[in-house]
Each structure stands twice: as C-alpha cells, then as structure tokens.
C-alpha cells in the first residue's frame, strides 16, 4: 500500500491540573451548536469531565471512535490510591454508556477537533481551558494509505442501524423520501 502524509491532531491532557470548571464542556457544546455559539449544553459536548470530586477525580476525556459492541471490561484501576472505573479512561463512544451521545437522538458524538470554516486555531476546549490542562498538537506523519474514515453522517447511520435494525432505517428513509 502507498504511503501518504497525514496530519495527526492531538489534544494532550494533564489531568492533575484540572480544577473541574467544565468550561471545556461548555465551550465545546457552544462551538458545535447551530447556529454557532447559539446554544449551550454540556451533554452535547465531545469532551467530558469524568468527576468524582471527593475522590479527587476530575478527568477530561474526549469522544473517540464509535464502537457498536458492548464492552466486556468493567475493571477498576487503582492509581495513586484513587480508584477509577475503566470507562473513565476509555474514549470510545459505545452502547454501554450514555456518554458522548446526542441526548435527543442517541446518535454518537465524536471529537472533530473543532474543524470548521473558518478554521479555529485550536479546538474550543483548548482555547478556553485556563489551567493549561489541555494542549493542542499537530504533527505530520507518513502512514499507510487506508480507507477514508466514515464521516459523521455514516457513523450516525451505523449507530441507528445498530439500534433499530437496518430494515427500520430503510423503511424510514423510504417513507421520508415519499413525503419529500
């Protein structure tokens, strides 16, 4: 397979510095709303703070890939005398938990690094975190050519199909196109 150049975008997290203000969630939801900055709803944010304040757990996590499969994990980790459920570290959007799904439709939400037109210098969460917890990094790397990732619509469709079955979706599309 041919090698191609690809820009890797990353958000690095220093969870020890997080003070749990949730500005990142707020600004993420604002940046992704339509119209832009028109609505605020942390439940729609693609970054969420896993919190258990008295145990000193404030862990920013980004929504990653959608995985239709249920997780068979459920382990707990002890780190520095704090215990974390493994979900705390997992970025996957999955049917096992309500995190990173649109509250109304149940469709998965994925972090897109705030790709927008005009382009933002950094994702909104990084821009608004005032504690240097989040830093943005861009790197050029050479990778094997691979299938283009499914875009958001396809991810959404896949999730719907998993939820309601392919036939339901087909019927719904057929009904909608008749109405249109």
């Amino acid at each position: 397979m041919a090698k191609i150049k690809k820009t890797i975008r990353r958000i690095n997290i220093k969870a020890d510095l997080c003070n749990g203000c949730r500005l990142c969630e707020i600004m993420c939801s604002a940046a992704h709303s339509t119209p832009k900055y028109g609505t605020i709803n942390p439940a729609r944010a693609r970054i969420q703070i896993i919190r258990d304040p008295l145990k000193d757990i404030w862990l920013p996590v980004f929504a990653g890939e959608y995985t239709p499969a249920e997780c068979s994990g459920r382990l707990n980790y002890e780190i520095d005398n704090k215990s974390y459920g493994e979900c705390a570290f997992c970025r996957a959007v999955c049917p096992s938990r309500g995190r990173f799904v649109e509250p109304d439709s149940g469709l998965p939400l994925g972090c897109d690094m705030c790709q927008s037109d005009p382009e933002l210098e950094t994702p909104a969460c990084v821009e608004w975190c005032m504690r240097d917890v989040l830093t943005y990094e861009e790197r050029e790397v050479e990778v094997e050519e691979e299938d283009l990732k499914l875009d958001e619509m396809k991810i959404g469709l896949e999730a719907l199909a998993n939820r309601y079955g392919m036939d339901e979706i087909k019927d719904a599309v057929a009904r909608m196109s008749q109405k249109a």
């Binding site: 709303s33 605020i40 304040p53 608004w128």
Partner: protein, 688 residues
C-alpha cells in the same frame, strides 16, 4: 424561543404531591432579570406580612440566576429564597458549585415548593421526569454523604444534589444547604427545608440553554478572559491592601497562608476581642505545612476560571470541599491556634450541615455561658446517649462536643441550634449581652473596632443580606497613606460608576492622631458614604439576580464584572435590550421591591443598626444623619420606606398602594415639582 432563561418553573406542592411545569412571563426577566429579582416578585405575591417561615404557605424557592447555564464566567450561584425563621425577613443565601446550571439544563429556572410533606422526601428532577421520592431511609445522613448516596441510588453519577444534613432535619437556624462545592448558609433557610421535610433535591439535565446572540456574547467573554488572565498574572499591589484582596475570585484564603490580617483584625472567642499580635513566622511556617498538606487540589465552581475552593483530605477526617473564610472561623471561636483543628471541625460541620459563620459564634457563646454559670455543668454532663463535655481548658474538644450536640439535636444542642439570639432568649439571659454580634437577629462578621467608619456603619445597619461581606468589596477597606499610591490606584479604575468617585478616593486620608476633615469619621461624608455604599450594594444585586459569584463582581477590588459590562452579557445572552443604565434601573426596581418587602414584614428604621459594640467610639448624631442621608439618597423617606415617587418610576405603584394600605407609607400629595426634583437628582446620581 427564550434566551438565557428556560422560561419554566417547577411548582411542587408537597402536601398533595402535585408537580407542575409552569411557563413564566417573559416580561419578568425584562423587569427583574432572574435569581433574586424574580424570587422577590414571587415572595411579594405569595406571602403576607403575617406569613411565618414555618407556615405551609411560605414558598421555598430554589433558583438559578439569569446567567446560569450560559458561559458567563462564574455564573453558578444557586439561590435559596424563603422567609427566615431567624429574622422573620427574607432569606436568600446562595451557594456556588454546579447545581443551578444543571437545573437550567433540565429545563427549569426555579423550583418552587409549597406546603409541607407528611414524610421525608427528596425531589428527583431529570429533564421532564420529576418525581418526589421517599427519603425516610436517608434520615440522619450527613449533608455531604447523602449527595453520593442519592447519586448511587439514582445511578446518575452526573446528577447534582443539594441537601441538608442532620442540622437542617432538626430545623436548626444555623443549618446549611450543601451542594457539592458550595453551601447556602444564612438566615435559617435550610431549616425551612427541614420544616417541609425535604432532605435533598437532585437534578440532571441534558437540554439546551439558548443565547440570543452567541457570537457577540463570546466577544464580551473574550474581553473578560483577557482581563482575568492579566490580573492572574499581575495581581494588584499589596502595598495598601491585603494579599487575599489582590486577585480576582473570592478572597484567595485557600491559596494564601499569611493570615496576619484576618487573625489580627477579627475577634476571638465570643466575638469579644482581637489578638492583634497573634501571627508570627513560626505560625506561618506551621500553617503552611498544615494547609498545603490538607489541600489535595484547588478547585473551581462551574464556568469559573478561578479556583477559590479546595478539596481537603486531612488526616483521617472524611473529605470535603472547603471555601475561603471558614478556614479560620472555628479557630477564632475556640481561641486555639492549631490549624489542624480547623480542617477537622470543618469536616464535621459540613456533614452536619451548619454555617461556619454563625456556628463558631454559637459555640463560643456556649463556652462563655458555661464559664459564667449561665449554662450549668449539668448541661454538659454525660447522658445515656453521649459522654460528658471535656473540661473548659480542652478548648478544641469542648467545641467538638458542643457541635455534636447541635448536629445531633441532643441536650443543650437543641437550644444552641437556634443561633445566638434565639438561644440566649430561650436560655433566659439578656440576649444583648451574649448574642451581641448580630444585626436583625443574624450573626455578623466578628470584628470589633475602634472608631466608627461611616461606610461600614451603613453597610452593617442597612444591608439587605444582613451580612456585611455580602455588600462590601469594590471599595478599599482603608484609605491609602501616600497620595501617589492613590493616584496610581485610580488610573485604571475603570470599574467606578462615575468619575466623581475618583475624587472621593483621592481626598480620602487614613486616620491619624491629629484628625482632619478627610478622615474617619468625618469622611466619607454622609453624602459620599451613601454614594459609595449604594454602588457597592448595586453590584452585589447584579450578581444575585444574574447568579454570578460575587468573587468576580461585588466582593472584589477592580473585579471582572462591573457596571460597565454586566449589560453586555445580559443583552447578548438574554436578548434584553438594555444598556448599563437600563440594567441599573432594573436592579433598582429589584432593590426597592426588596426594601418594601422587608418593611411590609415589620422592619423599621430602628432595625437598621449595627451590633451595639461593633465600634468603641460611636457618634449617635452622625449615625442618625448617615441613615437619613442614605435613605433620602435612595429615594426613601426618613423612616427608610421607598416613597411613592420612587416606587412609581420603577413601575412599582402596586407596592406603594399596599404599603399605604398597611399604614407603612404615609400618603403624601406629590406635586409635579417634587417629581421633577427627584428626577433630576436621579439623573445626577445614577445617570438615567
């Protein structure tokens, strides 16, 4: 579409279990904003002068402010508004944290409880699903632990919970409502939770809060961010002001260890005397270790760029989140110097759910009464339920013992739980002797000073919150000695409402033996003192209606929010078409409604008084002049009642009617000339 507010309140009738989602009139936000402003209107409409705090008709309102749920920095206050059993006036303590925004995301601006529940319950609000749930099994649980118990029970780790501890269950007047990172803790509001048998309210919301003009809002927020960033990196000079006041945010008492100012300036024991030379290098070294040893992490409230709170993991004590001044209040009260004791007793007191402002004063009063023989040794003896109180010299252990009695509602604790005034009355001693640090029945900041200060006189005597730190903040506590420092300070004082304030500040001189016209108590003059105090109060009122932490507005020198920018957030978020003067008029409407509400409940000029021994040197004539000048400045008559002219111009004619009917406001003929005179004064004073 409604902007900033959701446009719905939840009405919960605890007697019938009926729950309704009620749409509110958009005009209310335009006329009174939200938070305190709209709560006042509900309280005015639904109570009479005779309604008592523990009557079923007394509404208990849990309210967000207008800005909660928007990205406006520090817009996270949850306000508990109800009648106070302690003062018989309006109570509206606020707490920070995460509750109010979550309520907005669930689709509600306020929850209004009426009547009483026959059994203990908690309310679970999950978007459109709202249920009253049984809480009998949660009785006796602490205000902190119950929050996690409820989250577990609901299987909702992201639910925000506001709860009372055992003190609230027992209807203690010094009880608090604890909500994660914050406490709403003044004037006995939590006892109304106990009276209505509400153990907690849990809320989880996943709905949108809309902004009228998001991009413009963001621009205003960017300016604010630049300001906060700049200040965080360049604090104000500490040459003339205390370290804790050099930043933005609530006084950074968690971060800063040097407590020479607090420990020397505040009164110890039963708020009796100051220990001016308490602080020394040795203590600083010891406290640094203890403080930073106990702080696991600095934390912030929702949407706040500052971190005024801390997660405390201290020795074997159960963890909790602490905020500013409570770090010291129990030390002052118990007259001890080991900071370990502070962290220990706070862990207990937050669990019982008692106010760290009033409670130390109550405990210290009990110690004093024991010493004087007013409380007998049998009050401190062992029973089947608890051991005997340690001897007086074991000060910390005595404090912990009395706190346990209050928190558990045992023995003498049942009486002390009523706060200093009601407890002293019940014990049958002259309350003025033992409960000497109160205004209108509420414990005040325990400071005892030398010479009366005109501004502080007005704040103590008249302030609506009945707690001075909730009013002061934007003006420096003292004059600067060096005129050059004054010149420097006013250079970037963009927060001042009018340039005349610059002159006030430049003229103001610190006290000296020689005395002079620009020093206490002659200066600020009654007119100038009224102008400054009125402005500071106004700032706090914006915060309380918008639900913004006063650490970013009212209670902060050169703060992030000020008269020249609040309106930008209000207009772009809520779509209310106002400039700074329009917003000022709304706030004045709210403040006059507030004053009228208190007067309707029987408050009079005689109640506008600071604690009797707050200053050693008093000036009765000057004090009378200060009060009258201040009242008239605000458009009130000499009795402190808003005049008809003032009320009518604020669209509060109905308030004037009622005050006249009740005989509180004398009917006087108002001529056009009177109106014109007042209008031109109003324009000069406030610019609208």
């Amino acid at each position: 579409m409604r902007y900033a507010e959701t446009g719905y309140n939840l009405e919960v009738d605890l007697a019938t279990g009926n729950i309704e989602r009620v749409q509110t009139d958009p005009k209310l936000a335009e006329t009174l904003l939200g938070g305190l402003g709209t709560c006042l209107k509900i309280m005015w409409d639904r109570t009479t002068p005779d309604t008592h705090a523990f009557d079923p008709e007394n509404p208990l309102i849990i309210s967000s402010g207008l800005m909660a749920g928007t990205p406006a920095f520090s817009s996270n206050r949850t306000l508990i508004c109800t009648l106070s059993p302690k003062t018989n006036l309006l109570a509206y303590p606020m707490g920070g944290g995460f509750f109010a925004p979550e309520l907005k995301y669930a689709g509600y601006d306020k929850i209004i409880f009426t009547n009483k529940s026959p059994k203990w319950v908690y309310l679970w609000v999950h978007n459109d699903k709202v249920e009253i749930r049984d809480a009998e099994h949660l009785l006796g649980t602490g205000a902190i632990e119950v929050q996690d118990l409820i989250r577990e029970e609901l299987n909702e780790p992201n639910a925000q919970v506001a709860a009372i501890g055992t003190a609230g269950e027992l209807k203690s007047y010094i009880a608090t409502v604890e909500m994660g990172r914050g406490s709403a803790s003044r004037m006995g509001a939590a006892s109304v939770w106990g009276d209505k048998k509400i153990k907690a309210v849990a809320v989880r919301g996943t709905k949108d809060v809309n902004l009228a003009d998001g991009p413009a809002f963001l621009e205003a927020l960017k300016d604010m961010r630049a300001f906060v960033d700049e200040r965080n990196h360049n604090r104000l000079s500490s040459k003339n002001i205390m370290d804790i006041h050099t930043g933005v945010g609530s006084p950074q008492a968690m971060e800063i260890v040097d407590e020479s100012w607090h420990t020397g300036g505040f009164s110890w024991g039963n708020a009796r005397y100051r220990k001016k030379d308490f602080w020394n290098d040795e203590l600083e070294e010891a406290w640094t270790k203890i403080q930073y040893g106990a702080i696991q992490r600095f934390i912030s409230c929702y949407a706040c760029p500052q971190q005024c709170g801390a997660l405390i993991w201290h020795e074997e004590d159960p963890p909790y989140m602490a905020k500013c001044y409570s770090k010291l209040s129990y030390l002052f009260g118990s007259e001890t110097e080991d900071q370990n004791f502070s962290w220990k007793i706070l862990s207990k007191s937050f669990r019982y759910g008692v106010d760290s402002f009033s409670t130390p004063q109550v405990l210290a009063m009990a110690v004093e009464m024991r010493r004087d023989g007013v409380l007998k040794e049998e009050d401190f003896a062992a029973t089947d339920e608890y051991p005997a109180c340690p001897p007086p010299e074991e000060k910390q252990e005595v404090f912990l013992w009395i706190l346990d009695r209050i928190g558990k509602g045992q023995g003498i604790g049942k009486i002390l739980a009523l706060g200093t005034k009601a407890a002293a009355e019940k014990i049958g001693v002259n309350p003025e002797h033992y409960a000497h640090n109160i205004t209108k029945g509420e414990e005040q900041m325990n400071v005892k000073l030398g010479m009366l200060d005109p501004m502080y006189f007005l704040m103590f005597a008249t302030n609506e919150k009945q707690s001075v730190p909730q009013i002061e903040g934007n003006w420096t506590q003292d004059a600067f000695r060096d005129p050059k420092d004054r010149e420097e300070f006013v250079k970037d004082w963009i927060h001042l409402p009018h340039e005349r304030f610059i002159k006030y500040f430049l003229d103001w001189e610190p006290k000296s033996r020689e005395g002079g016209p620009f020093m206490n108590p002659e200066y600020p003059t009654p007119e100038i003192a009224s102008d400054i105090v009125d402005w500071m109060e106004e700032i706090h009122n914006y915060d309380d209606s918008l639900g913004i932490c006063c650490g970013m507005g009212g209670f902060c020198l050169k703060p992030a929010y000020h008269v020249h920018n609040y309106y930008k957030f209000v207009s772009t978020a809520a779509g209310i078409d106002v400039d700074q003067y329009g917003l000022r008029k709304i706030i004045h409407r709210s403040r006059n409604l507030h004053r009228a509400f208190q007067m309707r409940r029987g408050m009079t000029r005689a109640d506008d008084a600071p604690p009797a021994d707050h200053w050693r040197h008093r000036f009765p004539e000057l004090e009378e002049k200060l009060l009258t000048t201040y009242y008239n400045f605000k458009g009130w008559n000499d009795d402190g009642v808003p005049t008809r002219i003032r009320l009518e111009e604020l669209d509060l004619g109905y308030v004037a009617d009622e005050l006249e009917d009740l005989g509180i406001l004398k009917k006087v003929e108002t001529t056009d000339e009177d109106k014109e005179t007042w209008e031109s004064r109003r324009k000069e004073q406030w610019g609208y």
